[in-house]
Amino acid sequence: MTLATPAAQETPERTGRPTAVITGIGVAAPNGLGTEQWWQSTLQGTSGIGPVVDYDASRYPSRLVGRIDGFEAAEHIPGRLLPQTDRVTRLALVAGAEALADADADPAELAEQDGYGEYGCGVVTSNATGGFEFTHREIRKLWTQGPQQVSVYESFAWFYAVNTGQLSIRHKLRGPSGVLVSEQAGGLDAIGQSRRTLRQGVKLSLTGGMDSSLDPWGLVSHLASGRLSRSDDPATAYLPFDTRAAGQVPGEGGAMLVLEEETAARARGARVYGEIAGYAATFSPRPGSGRPPGLERAARLALADSGLGVEDVDVVFADAAGLPTADDEEAAALRALFGPYGVPVTAPKTLTGRLFGGGAPLDVAAALLALRDGVIPPTAGIDRPVPEHRLDLVRGTPRHTPLRTALVLARGHGGFNAAVVVRSPEAA
């Protein structure tokens, strides 16, 4: 590879860049397993947040989680995969299969077709916490029974990349693949990387993110962040942009999306939900540096990448930290971008808790269905918005309005920021 000037590097990418469209959605969320069930819950304001029920969490300072109830892995996953998969991988496999079925795409069949080949389909996912429950069980065996008793599958079942690997094996997604770990911004980074693989000739890329770490050890680890709400009221524990905002609720789940090069998708007659029109990531300076956080810059860069302006954005799916300082920073970024009350803002994640690597892809799924249905899903529970934020928060009930462009924002602990611009197929 030869060195190129930045200008020479950018030009071919911008002009010859394939259009990336989403053709399939699969969802595993605390308020719905499966896209339809989750979307109905999201519009109706049905919450998946509740107290821990799998073990006695009464002595934990935070006891609320967004847990997917009634998930019986054996109903969805081949028996051979059960001993070697953590819950998070099982959820990823279920959502991945749903997304591919929704796209009516079988990568093994596509590999036989012109223009695809063996490496024409890949998978890029995000994960922030690995296989916690599995590891908890195996580490307990290690210190109670000894190393001989530890499952050999611990070698990969814990690993951030395991969802990508198992999806690759299961669906023969052999093209350029990867995993992005950038805490809660990772889901958008995975979608951005998936889009990049189309420029390498990939025709179809399964992307998104999934996390699950609500076992006792996982919850303790989340507690250590110092960001969890201590409320016992599921309706008011996680209240971003509210004067009562006092922390987050950890949840499990996420979404898988089928991303395709548009010409290939149209050629096989795929239904198109929308385009991933823009993506960008930035890193915030260290706290106390005096320099501004990077979220606004990520949004501006993603819009520039899409060729659209702030005036084109019809709705923003906010990161919605639920922590007063972080909420203030995001509201300031939104005011700087759109002006006071300049764009409808929503955070349906108030119904699921924060899903780590899976949260932002679920927001992208919500953005795609919002564009499709002409409806902005509401933010739940916000009765007392912070007046100084000057946000047009969509609260309580869905808002019906034609939508062409959505901006999805995500932040990850440690300074990660990412933004994605989603465009409806009619507008694209």
């Binding site: 028996g79 051979r80 001993p83 070698s155």
Partner: protein, 84 residues
């Protein structure tokens, strides 16, 4: 004691799961494990549990060299006889 095919099936299923489409029976004792859907990790896990159940110790190198269920049973029974 002799470790039987039934013992192996129980341990293998516990360690590496089972599917309806491929099952280990007396009919496919000479079919390679890979064709039965069990990879080298599945065999390492199976050997580890065999050690706990039957006190037969195979090295990782021995286990990864085994190709078929018949070979597996021969190895563990040979090791059991050595240990006795």
């Amino acid at each position: 004691m002799t470790i039987t095919l039934d013992d192996l099936v129980l341990v293998l299923t516990e360690c590496a799961g089972a599917d309806d489409d491929v099952t280990l029976t007396g009919q496919n004792l000479d079919v390679p494990f890979t064709d039965l859907g069990y990879d080298s990790l599945a065999l390492l896990e199976t050997a580890a549990l065999m050690k706990q159940r039957f006190a037969v110790d195979l090295t990782d190198e021995e286990v990864t060299g085994i190709e078929t269920p018949r070979e597996f049973l021969d190895r563990v029974n040979h090791a059991a006889a050595q240990a006795a």
